[in-house]
C-alpha cells in the first residue's frame, strides 16, 4: 500500500513539472519535434495580426506554421476591442498605420462576401460637446480629406439631432465619417487563420516559444511543445512582441507599454438608441470613449486608456465602469434605464512610440510586427500585405496559390443568417445569444477546436448575453466534457 501511494505522488510531480522538464529536454537537444518539415515562415502569435499574416503568406504560396501560446487563438490583445473597421480618417498622416488601415479596409471589402464576413456600415459621428471641440471639427474634416477620406463632412447640431434623436441635446455638432463600420472582431480573424489552414498552414496552440537559433539559413525555434524549423520568422506576438524579440533576436528594438481599455456593454434593447458610432473629439493620447453598437446587437461604451506594466492584468474596476456608464448616459440619456449585460477589458500592445513597429532584420530572416497599438483589427489585412512586401524584399518568393480554398466565417451577427434561423437548427443552448448546440459542437470539434470557455465564447458567443451563463452554464459544462484544458465543472461520483 505504501509503495502504491508513493508511486502516485511521484507521478503527480512529473505532471506538475511537465512544462519545465519539456523545456529542459528541448534545450538538451533531444526535444520532441513539433513538425519534421522545413517551413518557409513561422508566425509567432495567433492574434488578429498573426492570423492575417498567416493567411497572406499561405495565399502567396509560402509554407506557414503558426505558434500560439494560448489554448485558443485571439487570447491576448485581440480578445477585446471596439469591433470597429476604421477608415483611417484620424490616423497619423504619412504613417505606416494609416497605410495599413487603408489597405486593410480595402481588402476587407474585397474578401468580405466570399468569406462570409459581416460589415455594418454604421458610419460615425465625431461629436463636439464643448465650444473648443466645435472649433476643432473643421480641422478634423480637413485632415481626413488630406488623407483621402473625402466623404467626411461637417454636420450641424440640428441635423445630428435628426439622425440621432436619442443623442443628448448637449451635442453641438459633428463630423460625419460614413465609412466607419462595425465588424465581428473574432469571426474575421478566425476565418483568416482557417483559410491559411485549409490551404496548408499548420497551427500549434498551447505552444509557447522559449528560444531559437539561426544558422544563417534556417531558424530552429524551440517551444514548449517541441522544435520547429523555418527559413523566416515573423514575430506577431502582440503584448509579448518585445519579449520574443529579446529572447530570439537578442534585442527588442522597442518596448511594449500595455494600455488597458475597459468597456461596458448594455442590453440589446439599447442598440436601437443609436445608429452610428459616436466618437469623441480625440485628444493627443487617445481616441477617447466611444459609444458603439456591435454586430451582435449590443451597445457598448469604452474604452478607457490606462497605462500599466502588466501584460496580463485585464481586470475591471467598479469606479471606472461607473464612470463609463455615466459617460454613456451623458451622451445617450435613455441609457439610464438600460441594464448592463457585460463588462470587459482589453490590453492594447502600444509601444514607446505612436506608430506601428514593423521592421525587417534581413541578416537574420526576421520580421517584427510590433506595437500594433489599437487599430490591429482594421489594419491586420493591410499589415499582412506590407509584411509580405518586406519578405519579398529579403529575396524570398513563391508562386501564388492558383485556386485557394475559401472557407466561410462563423455567422454570429444578430441581423445575419444565424444558425438558429436555419431549418433543423436543433437545440438552442444559450438562450440570450441564441447559440445552438450545433454551433457549439462545431466550435468544439472544428478545425480550430475551442479549448477554453473563452475560446468557445469567441467562436459562438455562448454565455456572452444578459444572463452571463445563469441558464446555460450547466448544459455547457456537460457539452464541453473532455474538451477544455481546464473543465468547467468536475463530475461527481454516484456514491
Amino acid at each position: 500500500m505504501v509503495t502504491k501511494s508513493t508511486k502516485v505522488v511521484s507521478k503527480r510531480s512529473i505532471i506538475g513539472h511537465g512544462l519545465s522538464i519539456l523545456l529542459q529536454r528541448s534545450t538538451e537537444n533531444f526535444a520532441s519535434v513539433l513538425d519534421q518539415s522545413l517551413f518557409d515562415v513561422v508566425v509567432i502569435g495567433a492574434g488578429v495580426v498573426g492570423c492575417a499574416v498567416a493567411r497572406r503568406f499561405t495565399l502567396e504560396g509560402a509554407r506557414v506554421a503558426v505558434l500560439e501560446k494560448g489554448t485558443d487563438i485571439l487570447d491576448g490583445a485581440s480578445k477585446a476591442n471596439s469591433a470597429i473597421l476604421h477608415t483611417g480618417f484620424d490616423a497619423p498622416e504619412g504613417s505606416l498605420e494609416l497605410a495599413c488601415i487603408r489597405d486593410g479596409y480595402a481588402e476587407y471589402q474585397a474578401i468580405r462576401d466570399s468569406l462570409g464576413l459581416v460589415q455594418d456600415n454604421a458610419g460615425a459621428y465625431v461629436v463636439a460637446w464643448t465650444q473648443d471641440e466645435l472649433r476643432n471639427l473643421e480641422s478634423i474634416k480637413a485632415k481626413a480629406h488630406l488623407k483621402g477620406v473625402t466623404d467626411v463632412a461637417l454636420v450641424d447640431a440640428e441635423t445630428l439631432g435628426a439622425w440621432e434623436p436619442n443623442l443628448s441635446r448637449n451635442a453641438l455638432g459633428a463630423v460625419h465619417v460614413p465609412g466607419e463600420s462595425l465588424i465581428d472582431p473574432w469571426s474575421a480573424p478566425y476565418v483568416y487563420l482557417r483559410q491559411a489552414m485549409e490551404n496548408g498552414a499548420k497551427v500549434f496552440t498551447s505552444c509557447e516559444v522559449a528560444e531559437g537559433t539561426f544558422d544563417g539559413e534556417e531558424w530552429r525555434v524551440v517551444t514548449t511543445k517541441g522544435t520547429l524549423r523555418a527559413r523566416h520568422v515573423i514575430n506577431c506576438a502582440g503584448l509579448y512582441g518585445d519579449v520574443v524579440n529579446r529572447a530570439l533576436l537578442g534585442a527588442a528594438q522597442f518596448e511594449i507599454k500595455p494600455r488597458k481599455g475597459q468597456f461596458v456593454v448594455f442590453d440589446k434593447a439599447a442598440s436601437d438608441l443609436v445608429s452610428a458610432i459616436i466618437l469623441p473629439v480625440p485628444s493627443e493620447t487617445t481616441k477617447g470613449i466611444v459609444v458603439f453598437r456591435t454586430v451582435f446587437g449590443n451597445l457598448a461604451v469604452g474604452p478607457t486608456a490606462e497605462e500599466q506594466d502588466s501584460r496580463t492584468d485585464a481586470s475591471t474596476d467598479d469606479e471606472t465602469l461607473k464612470a463609463l456608464i455615466a459617460d454613456g448616459i451623458a451622451k445617450i440619456p435613455a441609457l439610464k434605464d438600460m441594464p448592463i449585460t457585460a463588462t470587459y477589458a482589453g490590453l492594447r500592445p502600444a509601444s514607446d512610440q505612436k506608430e506601428y513597429r514593423v521592421s525587417a532584420t534581413s541578416e537574420q530572416n526576421w520580421i517584427t510586427v510590433g506595437g500594433i497599438r489599437s487599430t490591429g483589427l482594421s489594419g491586420a489585412l493591410g499589415i499582412a500585405r506590407h509584411v509580405y512586401g518586406l519578405y519579398e524584399k529579403m529575396g524570398a518568393s513563391h508562386d501564388k496559390l492558383p485556386d485557394p480554398v475559401v472557407p466561410k466565417a462563423n455567422m454570429l451577427s444578430e441581423a445575419g443568417p444565424r444558425d438558429w434561423k436555419q431549418d433543423g437548427a436543433g437545440e438552442v443552448v444559450c438562450h440570450c445569444e441564441l447559440v445552438t448546440r450545433r454551433e457549439i459542437e462545431t466550435a468544439l470539434h472544428g478545425p480550430l477546436p475551442a479549448r477554453s470557455l473563452a475560446g468557445l465564447k469567441r467562436q459562438t458567443r455562448a454565455t456572452m448575453g444578459r444572463c452571463q451563463g445563469f441558464y446555460c452554464s450547466a448544459r455547457l459544462a456537460e457539452l464541453t466534457d473532455g474538451c477544455f484544458v481546464s473543465a468547467m465543472a468536475e463530475r461527481l461520483s454516484h456514491e
Binding site: 456593454v265 439610464k336 448592463i340
Partner: protein, 411 residues
C-alpha cells in the same frame, strides 16, 4: 387568424398554473412555450425542500414539485412545447419562435409572459477584479449540481444572504462543496429568522457588513478581497464565488419589443390584471417583480389564467381610464402593478406589491399632486413582502396619479 387562444411564454410554476387555470375555465387552445428541454422552471434545479405546500398540501423537493406541476398541466389538457424559444413578441400576439426544426410564427389571441427571474450576474454588479472562471450565480450552481451532477469548485465564498443564499449552502452540501464563508454587505442577514442561524449550523462563517472589493485569480478564482464595516481589508482564499440573489425579471422580450418596461421592477408595466401596454399581452409570476416564492408565483399564475379567460370572453374592463402608481423615495424599490384601471370591476390583484431598499420604520404614504391621500405605518426590511390594498388607493386617488413615499414619524 389565430393559431391558439393563449400562448404562455415560460413553463415554470406561474406559467403552468396559468395554463391549467385557462383550461379549467374552458379555454380550448392553450400552449406553453418552454425554451428548455423540460418544463418546470427554476424548481427543477432546486433539489431540496420546501416546495408544494400551498399547491399539493405536502412538502417536496423542487424537481418533484416541478414534475407534479407539469403532470397536472398536461392532465388539464395543456400543450407544452419544449425547446421552443420565443425570439420576438410583436403587436397583437404575433410571436416568432425558434424551434428545433426552424423558425415559425405563432398567432395567439392572448399572450402571457411568465418568463420568471434570474440573479444579477457579476457584470451587472460591476464587481471589480480579474475576469476568471468560477464566478457563478446560485441558479447556475444548482443546475450543475442537481441537473448535471457536477461541481464547479470545492471551496467557494457565497455573497448575499437572501433566501437563495441558503439554498446555495444546501446545494453545496449536496455536492460535498464546502463554502468557506457567507458574506453580506448589509448589517443584517436579508432572509428572516430562522435562516440567520443556518450558516452557523452548516459550519459556514457568516460576515455581515462586509463588501466584496475584488475577485483575484489568473484564469480561475484564487481568492477574494473583502472589506468589513470598520474598513479592514482582508483576503480570503477560495476557488469559487457564488453571487446569490439580486433577482431581476427576465423581461428581455418586453424590453426588446414594443411593450413598456418599468425600470423600478425591471419587469413589464402592468395593470391590476397583469395586462401590459399592448392589451393582448399579460404577465404573471416573478417576471412581474423580483422575487417571490414558487408557491406565490403559482397562485399568481392561477389567478392570471382566470383573468385572461374572462378577457377572452370580453368581460375585462378596458385599460383606460387608469392612474399610474410609482415610488418616489430611494428607500422604496418598486410598486407593482404600475397602473390601476379605474372601473366598477373590483377584480384583479387585490394588493399593490412593494419592496423596500433598506430597513424602514416610518409611515408609508400615498400622494397625489404632492398632497397626502392615504397613509399607514410601515416597518419592513429588504426583500420582505409589503402589500397595500389596491382598492384603498384606487378609492383615495380620485383619478389622479399616485406616488408612494416614506415619511419619518415626527420626533
Amino acid at each position: 387568424m389565430s393559431d391558439v387562444d393563449v400562448a404562455i411564454i415560460g413553463g415554470g410554476p406561474a406559467g403552468l398554473a396559468a395554463a391549467s387555470a385557462l383550461k379549467s375555465a374552458g379555454v380550448e387552445r392553450v400552449v406553453v412555450l418552454e425554451r428548455e428541454a423540460e418544463a418546470g422552471g427554476i424548481p427543477r434545479h432546486c433539489g431540496h425542500p420546501p416546495f408544494g405546500l400551498r399547491e399539493f398540501n405536502r412538502i417536496m423537493t423542487g424537481p418533484t414539485y416541478a414534475e407534479r406541476l407539469v403532470a397536472s398541466a398536461q392532465t388539464a389538457g395543456v400543450e407544452i412545447r419544449t425547446l421552443t424559444t420565443v425570439v420576438e413578441a410583436r403587436a397583437q400576439g404575433k410571436l416568432r419562435l425558434a424551434t428545433p426544426t426552424g423558425v415559425t410564427e405563432l398567432n395567439a389571441k392572448r399572450v402571457i409572459l411568465a418568463t420568471g427571474v434570474r440573479e444579477t450576474p457579476r457584470s451587472a454588479r460591476l464587481v471589480s477584479g480579474a475576469r476568471v472562471s468560477g464566478v457563478l450565480n446560485t441558479g447556475a450552481l444548482q443546475s450543475m449540481v442537481y441537473l448535471k451532477n457536477r461541481r464547479p469548485f470545492q471551496r467557494p465564498v457565497i455573497f448575499g444572504s437572501e433566501l437563495v443564499a441558503f439554498s446555495a449552502i444546501l446545494t453545496c452540501r449536496h455536492a460535498r462543496i464546502r463554502p468557506i464563508a457567507m458574506i453580506e454587505a448589509n448589517k443584517h442577514v436579508t432572509a428572516r429568522w430562522p435562516c440567520a442561524l443556518f450558516p452557523r449550523l452548516a459550519g459556514v462563517a457568516l460576515h455581515t457588513g462586509t463588501r466584496l472589493v475584488e475577485i483575484l485569480g489568473d484564469t480561475k478564482v484564487e481568492g477574494v478581497v473583502v472589506e468589513d464595516a470598520k474598513g479592514q481589508i482582508s483576503r480570503l482564499e477560495c476557488d469559487g464565488v457564488i453571487l446569490s440573489g439580486q433577482f431581476t425579471p427576465e423581461a428581455a422580450l418586453a424590453r426588446s419589443g414594443h411593450l413598456l418596461v418599468d425600470p423600478a421592477t425591471g419587469g413589464p408595466q402592468v395593470d391590476q390584471w397583469g395586462r401590459l401596454s399592448d392589451p393582448t399581452y399579460f404577465a404573471t409570476g416573478n417576471v412581474l417583480r423580483p422575487v417571490e416564492t414558487a408557491g406565490w408565483s403559482w397562485s399568481e399564475g392561477g389567478r392570471t389564467g382566470q383573468w385572461v379567460a374572462r378577457d377572452l370572453a370580453g368581460l375585462l374592463p378596458e385599460s383606460e381610464p387608469s392612474v399610474r402608481v410609482s415610488v418616489n423615495d430611494h428607500r422604496l424599490r418598486f410598486a407593482m402593478p404600475q397602473n390601476i384601471v379605474l372601473s366598477q370591476d373590483v377584480g384583479g390583484m387585490r394588493d399593490i406589491q412593494l419592496r423596500v431598499a433598506q430597513h424602514v420604520d416610518g409611515d408609508l404614504i400615498a400622494e397625489c399632486d404632492g398632497k397626502k391621500i392615504w397613509g399607514r405605518k410601515l416597518r419592513a426590511g429588504p426583500e420582505q413582502r409589503v402589500l397595500v390594498q389596491t382598492h384603498e388607493i384606487a378609492a383615495a386617488c380620485a383619478g389622479r396619479d399616485v406616488a408612494l413615499r416614506i415619511s419619518e414619524p415626527a420626533d
